[in-house]
Symmetry: D3
Subunit: 319 residues, 6 copies
Amino acid sequence: MKLIFVSDLRENQPVDSVFMCAAKNQGVTKSGSGYLTLKLLDRSGEIEGRVWDRANDLARGFEKSDYVRVRGQATLYQGRLQIRVHDVARVNDTEVAAEDFLPKSPHDPEAMAAELTAILRGMKNPHLLALVEAFFTDDDFMDLFKRAPAGKSIHHAYLGGLLEHTLSLLKLILKVVENYRGIDVDLLLVGGFLHDMGKIYEFSYDRAVEYTDGGQLLGHLVMEVEKVSEKIRSIPDFPAELAMLVKHMLVSHHGSYEFGSPKLPQTVEAMILHYLDDLDGKIQSIQFLMGKEPGSRWTSFHRAYGRSFFRGDGGEKKD
Amino acid sequence: MKLIFVSDLRENQPVDSVFMCAAKNQGVTKSGSGYLTLKLLDRSGEIEGRVWDRANDLARGFEKSDYVRVRGQATLYQGRLQIRVHDVARVNDTEVAAEDFLPKSPHDPEAMAAELTAILRGMKNPHLLALVEAFFTDDDFMDLFKRAPAGKSIHHAYLGGLLEHTLSLLKLILKVVENYRGIDVDLLLVGGFLHDMGKIYEFSYDRAVEYTDGGQLLGHLVMEVEKVSEKIRSIPDFPAELAMLVKHMLVSHHGSYEFGSPKLPQTVEAMILHYLDDLDGKIQSIQFLMGKEPGSRWTSFHRAYGRSFFRGDGGEKKD
Amino acid sequence: MKLIFVSDLRENQPVDSVFMCAAKNQGVTKSGSGYLTLKLLDRSGEIEGRVWDRANDLARGFEKSDYVRVRGQATLYQGRLQIRVHDVARVNDTEVAAEDFLPKSPHDPEAMAAELTAILRGMKNPHLLALVEAFFTDDDFMDLFKRAPAGKSIHHAYLGGLLEHTLSLLKLILKVVENYRGIDVDLLLVGGFLHDMGKIYEFSYDRAVEYTDGGQLLGHLVMEVEKVSEKIRSIPDFPAELAMLVKHMLVSHHGSYEFGSPKLPQTVEAMILHYLDDLDGKIQSIQFLMGKEPGSRWTSFHRAYGRSFFRGDGGEKKD
Amino acid sequence: MKLIFVSDLRENQPVDSVFMCAAKNQGVTKSGSGYLTLKLLDRSGEIEGRVWDRANDLARGFEKSDYVRVRGQATLYQGRLQIRVHDVARVNDTEVAAEDFLPKSPHDPEAMAAELTAILRGMKNPHLLALVEAFFTDDDFMDLFKRAPAGKSIHHAYLGGLLEHTLSLLKLILKVVENYRGIDVDLLLVGGFLHDMGKIYEFSYDRAVEYTDGGQLLGHLVMEVEKVSEKIRSIPDFPAELAMLVKHMLVSHHGSYEFGSPKLPQTVEAMILHYLDDLDGKIQSIQFLMGKEPGSRWTSFHRAYGRSFFRGDGGEKKD
Amino acid sequence: MKLIFVSDLRENQPVDSVFMCAAKNQGVTKSGSGYLTLKLLDRSGEIEGRVWDRANDLARGFEKSDYVRVRGQATLYQGRLQIRVHDVARVNDTEVAAEDFLPKSPHDPEAMAAELTAILRGMKNPHLLALVEAFFTDDDFMDLFKRAPAGKSIHHAYLGGLLEHTLSLLKLILKVVENYRGIDVDLLLVGGFLHDMGKIYEFSYDRAVEYTDGGQLLGHLVMEVEKVSEKIRSIPDFPAELAMLVKHMLVSHHGSYEFGSPKLPQTVEAMILHYLDDLDGKIQSIQFLMGKEPGSRWTSFHRAYGRSFFRGDGGEKKD
Amino acid sequence: MKLIFVSDLRENQPVDSVFMCAAKNQGVTKSGSGYLTLKLLDRSGEIEGRVWDRANDLARGFEKSDYVRVRGQATLYQGRLQIRVHDVARVNDTEVAAEDFLPKSPHDPEAMAAELTAILRGMKNPHLLALVEAFFTDDDFMDLFKRAPAGKSIHHAYLGGLLEHTLSLLKLILKVVENYRGIDVDLLLVGGFLHDMGKIYEFSYDRAVEYTDGGQLLGHLVMEVEKVSEKIRSIPDFPAELAMLVKHMLVSHHGSYEFGSPKLPQTVEAMILHYLDDLDGKIQSIQFLMGKEPGSRWTSFHRAYGRSFFRGDGGEKKD
């Protein structure tokens, strides 16, 4: 049973709680005795654990990725809180509530998937309809797609986050294209559907969200191109140029080299996809930040954006 | 009468046509005789004119900003086409068709203004309603706002362009906000209305589009803040914080320091305004580029974007 | 009475002293009890205070911006010193010495203002004389101008700092222009006088130096353009081009886009103003850094400059 | 028969020679008559051709990618040499010498391929041996790999250039790894073999070197990952981690985001591959530049490197 | 005799005038005949000359760096003016006026040197006095120092320019230091004297200003450190730390890595030197630009500064 | 005797051990009592020491650069571990083992020097042979060259590191040049030998590795040019151009301005030197990082490279 969360720990506090053990490394001090360095996670954050006594014995009682019961004390070392672990042992998965370790989207994944499917089935291009259907009928894919997070950070990401972001983007695309002529809406929708799909392989999210080796070494852009190629090969007579245009949207959707796109957007659809994907992410993260600590006129500093955001009187008058 | 346009001139071609004289500079050669350097414009482009003979006499017959009849010959000098002018003299404005020198938007400015006005009058915030009304009832402002271009380049910009872009942006805002909660729509609409309004002072566009001195030295961001402040002073009890939020959207709408915004967007509304303004401009300019030379699979290289755009089979299947 | 300063606090030290409460935020723990997060300032620095017990009761006894007597203990949390507050209550302004909370310039503001006024009254341009007089006779402005700091950092900035920097810059301008011909000295002096004037609104400095909302959202460049425009409107027949040149110096004086100027310096006077303003600031901050910890051959690392400075034998032979 | 090359054309020179027609675009002047814009190539360079008379008739006599006999006159237009074409008609491939239009490597492709094959067959890793063999036995691949250029520029690139660069890199790798321990040489060799292989699809090089649409929209990094994946799927029990490591070297070999790698090198082999590929290219291009115009002490300015290179006394004493 | 200057040449104009031959390269056309490519200079600019007929014969009649009489015709080739040379032959130095080929400072070099010497002899530090005296008594050095230009561009630089800039900088230093305390004025003056001294070796300026090989490969910063070290070795008991501080000012005076300083300024004197050197150069170049084409409100675009400068009404009211 | 190393210290641990005192600064608290701030080093790292009691007395018992016995307690202050020193006193050099304070290369410096000497004596160019011999016969130089580290960081650098890196680079050069023609191998070897030689003056490494003042203010590039110039002056008839080419390789070997080279590589030898120097350093540092904490699939984050490196299964199959 989960008795305390990482984010609630204070210096010198005794600890007796269950965590997910995301890393388990054994070391040897200069004086020759063994020790363990653990990465302990729950849905509120992560903390380092150190086992100095009986390390070799305790190490035999659990593995990386186990849920473990940890007894010890929160303590500061070189300015960061860690747990000095006195005892650690594996607990059965049946004894823990998985949602204590990985948060979920507030929206029902089946309902979101149904809405997304309906939007894409409304397209007219038969080749693109066949392509999305090839994904919809791939149960392994759909299971992962409904479950995957959109990002690694425990505070900004959660199970179902990828689907939630993808659906929001498709709905945004449908609205924006009403304002312009000459857009290939079907192409744009398929780009929106698949642009982040490789994240189902870029992350592992069984007990915690972590980058996979392939996620680090290849990235979701390259991995999703491979997956899309595989699906396209299974569809008779899929036009080569259309395949290229779909894949172009995937590789270019980060919009610039510095953000990891090997090619710049070179069609109007690829350009729109980049902008709306970026905008949807920014609105969500700013509003998330605004929702925290609502009493003050400014949010805390957002490192990635290099600024704080202004709340004023807390938005009470709005919406 | 306009007999030939700048873009149709070829080397060694004789010239006898009317141009707008956008610059007239007198110089003296080392051997002591005078000469004239002219900038000659029409709606298709600009070309340099040089008067080597009778320069002092001819110079008395016209001024900068006059329409002039030019006789001479197109010739190459150091790799650029210029006109060696044999004769040049002022023609009356009544003898020229203004639209040969400055193109217009295909849309009726009065109809666009009516649509824009209706959108903004649909807001609920009484202070912001008073603010837009202060602009609507300012006839001098509205005349300029309906007439101003959105940019200097003769090929990308035209009379009415500012209004056309502003209206498109307002309609885009109305669609996008449907996808999100917690946005102050009225604030965002007012930001959209006023974000480029300073361009009515940044450019002169009587006979050609040119930067004004103030446009170069202060820029439209600063000039529109001053104008908005003037209007706000005329409205009783306009809330100070709301005034600040409106002006913040104006100064931050270029989105980054390097594009001339002295402040980064620090509200969700300022962030959305920046993205949608940028997106609307990009879609228009890419589609404009796509529309030229439709026979080839790629557009010519777009210097500002650092790339060509792909047309494929010319978009025949689209929309 | 001030018994201990922030910069003298050590881990585990008991605290009983008066601070300025610059922020007061109420939160609720996951277990449902209230707590307070305070920002406590004095002239030596700032520190976070946390109230875990009786938070709701204590919160009623003081407001943000009050001077407060704080009892508690200095403690480390996640590597930063904070005060765990056991008791906190408002004290009357009459019981504190304001200079314990905000340091002052070593120079007399009235004397500095007199010297600055004399320099500017020595100009010849009647319009610029009228402009500076419009500021000199604005008592509200002059009171703030004599009192405002030049920056936010408590260690580098102090009451009267804006006036001290401005006066130094004007004297530097007078010397430099002797070396060149063709400079519009009056224009340059007015630019020097007004270039940072918006800082009187960019900061609040009643009990501590903090950015105002307008300072963050608009910045001193934009705010001072508005103020100068207001003054110019009050002067009959002020030439439009001169007004533009003055405002150009204000918006361009940071010298580049990346430092928040929306326009680059485009006159020789604007260029000189940028260089001398930057040089005066750099000399002052380097010499300030040199004056600290005089025993060693190198200063500590200066983050903004990305380097340490060399003292050698401590400069004993100099000056 | 080829009578004159593009690089030998001078202003006003009459032209009667065969070129490869790389682009053929039809336009209409404002006065309603048709004209043709051609891109004419041979191995020495490219030049624009313009047909103003009988354009519609002449257009029927040839297509893009044909060899054509062109009669006309070299002339300057807006500072660039072009051919005003009086007559243009298709000639049979049998009447032209292909090497007049595309230069070849001085080395025999079969000999180079044999040397490359021998190096790679000397590896020990059975999986990697199977992978290279899958390419060696793919005749379509090997034909293209022996023929493809390493770059588009006609002056720096030629048929067989990709193979020449790849072989040089493999030999360089074999030497460098002798100096270090702990390098996975087989992995590095396979990375060297395949790192630019996608260029066989990035370019077309039948009658001239041009980017393909896929080359522009996806790039050789992404295209070669897809090809390698296809080959790996055909090999039983190819280890997943090894596949990932091979593909990681391909996507990261440009070494930084700004040069189009979506991932940075994250293994020591990927890092070495990036350095040696870059070094081999730089040595070749500097020596190529040095070899031109040997009489002067400095080469002409190299735009991509932002500098000239110093020859001194022409390197007569060297090698 | 000089009959026409490069800057006055027009297309198709016959040429018969004397130039300095700054480069003479022989080539061979594909058809086997020889040709010459010349760089022809005078004080107004440079132009390429091409000899197509009798190239081998004519080449025997002059060498690089000779003054030559050139007969031919100005003509455009690929958009740039060149001279097609019909005849070219050496003329004696006695027949030309050297000032037609290299302009001079308007100020007397002896008078400037006397003023500079007097300023530096007013220092108090005996070691630095000895150092400057070591330069003053080095006749070879002083001859070059009085004659060298401050830059390569013929339009911005002239004989005596280095001395003129150095003297202006020393006078500026003397004024600026009056405004501050704690500056080592003698050190700063010596830095000012020597900061660009290596330009006497970075350029050749016998008949034209050109970079020397050493100027390109080592640069004036490194070359002047070597020269200063040589002088310091000749002075008994010169303090090692003082030598280091002098050399530090030389290597750091460009102020940042990107402008070629291998070290950033790390003393207050090095920082001031960098700012004032930069300011003095900027004022001179802006005022030079302002002085050209005085009739218009804006200067032409200044590529290095990325902007035009505003003249307004031409500065008639100033100074 | 050394009882505990810096890297083994834990919070609250009592300390009684010998350290090298790298800095000793005296301060005065606001309450008037003296205190000491010490920088204490051993080969495992550095830590701050603070003396609050009897500071003035204890200060008399040791100097900066002494070995000192320190008694006190490890404690956290503002998130960093420090030693609160109760007693500190000088110990004789004879009582400490120097290798506890500065680690050494695992290779014998004499053997490395012999190998390096043999390589360089194999050159053919008599001038370059004379130059290297001038260094080999300079005992002071050779003593320092054998002893100097290649960098400051105690964890990456050690006595003999400069020689180890230089030798590895020379051997790498010999291998790489086999793959190319037209390289001046002797010039490249001399560049390799001398490129970092200035580090013998850039650092002090008597008891700890620290930057010297000259290292900070001038840097090893400039210092080694001065040293090479001195040697060249001692060799009769050393060709001026060859001297320039050698020095060019030294000043340009960092490869770009941003890494502190005042000139870019402008010969093929300078370019190769830059690449191979960079590659050799990168291989060593990545393999060093890989060798630490071998149990995990990824190394810790490498700040300078902005990434972690992938180990996979620990490289067990390699080499």
